[in-house]
């Protein structure tokens, strides 16, 4: 007996949905074993990181806080990756979006009015989109690979943030601390569930995913992105412009990353600080893949990854597991998901030796 791979006519829809769940389950088993071998409490690690946040109702609000930015960024990345546009600099667009929105926030800090909040959000989206426009332009005009440019600009954005916080953006009352002023009441996201820390960004994340899903599945643009991503030659034949798709994919993913950035500043953080870049832009890459590059999948995957974040924080306290362990579990999920892809595209068939000979 031997095994042979046979290409499926169509990728299996069922397995496309089941494999992410399988990847999470295998991560729990394999991760438990690996961490035990590394000398940690492997069973405890899996229990704390994957189950405790779910079993502890008080922690659900933390899940909403952590999932919101991940979902918003991952929805944009899902659209970009489907179009074969490899924007991996969402972290930079997230930072620049927050910077742009905060710029408006500093100017309007002592003003009041309902218009301030949407203006800041708009500036955030514009900032993120503008920062993604640079790699988009470079790819369309000069054929420069966007993987490298988006990432290089991410590193540069961190220094831009450091520079602004040390000087132009620094609060006059910060006593030398590199941070901006606190946002005023009219600049801070309202709490949407009384008695919790759940803010408007959680609701906006769900809305972003729903809108993206509607646009993606119903309108021409969605079709265009998918065709250009899946079959560039056919797309050209069909009259779709590959360049325009690159632009749209980059501006949407950058704009959403910027949106997530300013929401984070106006919500959980409350101002810009040096520790603002928390790596959501990178983790959202895992979320996008785990969600099968589908906007609604991004919501579920965002919650899943948020569980590991919240669980990782709990495990730090309860079983003294270093927080870096969370990154390993997250990477394992992505590895196992990518490994399982072959099952989606191929059928494993057992064949007899006699058959091979023929």
């Amino acid at each position: 007996m031997q095994f042979r791979l046979e290409k499926r006519q169509e990728p299996s829809k069922l397995l496309q949905v089941l494999t992410p769940i399988g990847a999470v389950l295998v991560t729990m088993v394999l991760g438990g074993i690996i961490f035990t071998l590394l000398g940690y409490d492997g069973l405890g690690a899996v229990r704390e990181i994957f189950l405790s946040p779910l079993l502890n109702a008080y922690k659900w609000q933390d899940l909403a806080v952590k999932a919101a930015p991940l979902i918003i960024i991952a929805v944009g990345l899902s659209i970009a990756y489907r179009a074969n546009v490899w924007n991996i600099g969402a972290e930079g667009q997230y930072i620049v979006g927050a910077i742009a929105g905060t710029g408006v926030g500093i100017l309007t800090n002592d003003m009041t009015g309902w218009w301030i909040m949407p203006l800041m959000m708009l500036a955030g989206v514009a900032g993120g989109a503008a920062y993604a426009a640079v790699p988009a332009l470079l790819r369309v005009r000069f054929r420069v690979n966007e993987i490298l440019t988006t990432l290089m600009l991410t590193y540069a954005s961190v220094y831009l943030l450091n520079y602004l916080l040390a000087g132009p953006f620094k609060s006059p009352t910060s006593m030398g601390q590199p941070q901006t002023v606190m946002f005023s009441a009219d600049q801070s996201l309202p709490y949407i569930i009384p008695g919790t820390i759940v803010q408007l960004n959680a609701l906006l994340a769900v809305i972003v995913a729903l809108v993206a899903w509607l646009v993606f599945s119903r309108f021409v643009f969605g079709f265009q992105v998918r065709v250009v991503g899946a079959a560039p030659h056919a797309a050209r034949y069909g009259g779709f412009s590959a360049d325009r798709t690159v632009w749209l994919a980059m501006l949407i993913s950058g704009g959403l990353a910027g949106f997530a950035g300013i929401l984070e500043a106006m919500g959980p953080v409350g101002r810009l600080i040096l520790q603002f870049p928390a790596g959501y832009g990178f983790t959202a890459i895992i979320v996008a893949f785990l969600g099968r590059l589908h906007p609604l999948g991004a919501v579920l995957a965002g919650l899943m990854v948020a569980i590991t974040f919240v669980g990782g924080e709990m495990a730090q306290i309860t079983i003294q597991l270093p927080f870096a362990a969370v990154g390993i579990f997250q990477a394992m999920m992505l590895f196992l998901l990518l490994a399982s892809d072959i099952l989606v595209r191929y059928r494993v068939r057992s064949v007899r030796r006699a058959e091979i000979a023929t």
Partner: protein, 308 residues
């Protein structure tokens, strides 16, 4: 500027260039075989943390570098199993490898954080490097010489040996290499493992020659610059060396910006961001010169699945 400062700048430049040169040489071979491994940064971090651990426990530098190379090659083989055997998406798998390497190194490096690591010096006798000018020739860390030797070795391997020819054939036309009876997957596995080992040695440079201790994310994106460097060099080893030294120069501005007043016209953050911005600018300049026709290996990033 006095000659002492010039020599000091050149010395720092060579030091800063060396890890990106080593990692980029490995990636060059990987890409020549038709595989794009974006996990360089992750593999470098694995190499760096293993180096710190082994150096601090055994005090043996050679053993530390060997372990770093082996560990990073092992990490590269995870990438290999996924992309070569299971034909998973190379871009996504490479990213996953970087995330894994970052997480692993942060976890594994915790007990060693902040402890100072004994560095390696020049392989030549100290008497040769007493004079500043002679120091420029004989006063570098052993990694600087190793990287330059590897430039010639990789060039010789790719251009002058039969194995190098096969590797290039696999990267340019995997189907015909397969039909001629060469194992496409086997060659690519070997290339990926070599790339991992080189990234591991590049990672070892950081604690042993540049910043003698472990901190999280010690390599600060230099692995990504190495990836850009391969494109910059149009997949040619000697141009790779020139490019690495150019980026080395870009990187040391930050060091001098802190001490010298002539850099103060621009904020120090600008000088720190310069290598990354320079990478973008250089990538644009290259594409201008080549006018579309790319010198990338034809099969770069495409999975190979043997029929039947």
């Amino acid at each position: 500027m006095s000659s002492d400062i010039v020599i000091a700048i050149l010395m720092t430049m060579a030091g800063a260039a060396t890890p990106i040169l080593l990692a980029a040489l490995g990636e060059l071979v990987v890409e020549k075989s038709g595989v794009l491994n974006l996990g360089v940064e992750g593999m470098m971090l694995v190499g760096a943390v293993i180096t710190v651990a082994v150096t601090l426990t055994t005090g043996n530098h050679l053993l530390a570098v060997a372990c770093a190379a082996a560990a990073a090659a092992l990490a590269a083989l995870i990438f290999g199993v996924l992309t070569l055997t299971l034909s998973a998406n190379q871009v996504a798998t490479g990213l996953a490898l970087t995330i894994l390497g970052t997480g692993f190194s942060a976890l594994f490096g915790r007990p060693y954080t902040g402890k100072s690591v004994p560095t390696v010096g020049s392989p030549f006798p100290a008497e040769l490097a007493t004079d500043p000018v002679w120091r420029l020739l004989f006063g570098h860390s052993v990694f600087v010489y190793l990287a330059l030797i590897m430039v010639v070795a990789v060039w010789w391997f790719l251009q002058r040996t039969r194995s190098g020819l096969i590797l290039r054939a696999v990267g340019e036309n995997d189907l015909s290499a397969h039909s001629m009876g060469y194992s496409v997957i086997g060659v690519r596995y070997a290339a990926v493992a070599f790339g991992g080992a080189m990234a591991g040695i590049a990672g070892a440079c950081f604690p042993l020659a540049l910043t003698p201790q472990w901190v999280e994310r010690l390599t600060t994106g230099k692995g990504w610059i190495a990836l850009a460097l391969v494109v910059f060099a149009a997949w040619r080893p000697f141009r790779l060396a020139a490019g690495a030294y150019f980026f080395g120069l870009m990187m040391i501005f930050e060091v001098y910006a802190k001490s010298s007043s002539s850099f103060r016209v621009l904020p120090s953050e600008f000088w720190a961001a310069l290598p990354y911005l320079a990478t973008v600018v250089v990538l644009v300049l290259i594409s201008l010169r080549r006018e579309g026709s790319s010198s990338a290996p034809a099969c770069l990033g495409k999975p190979f699945i043997a029929a039947g």
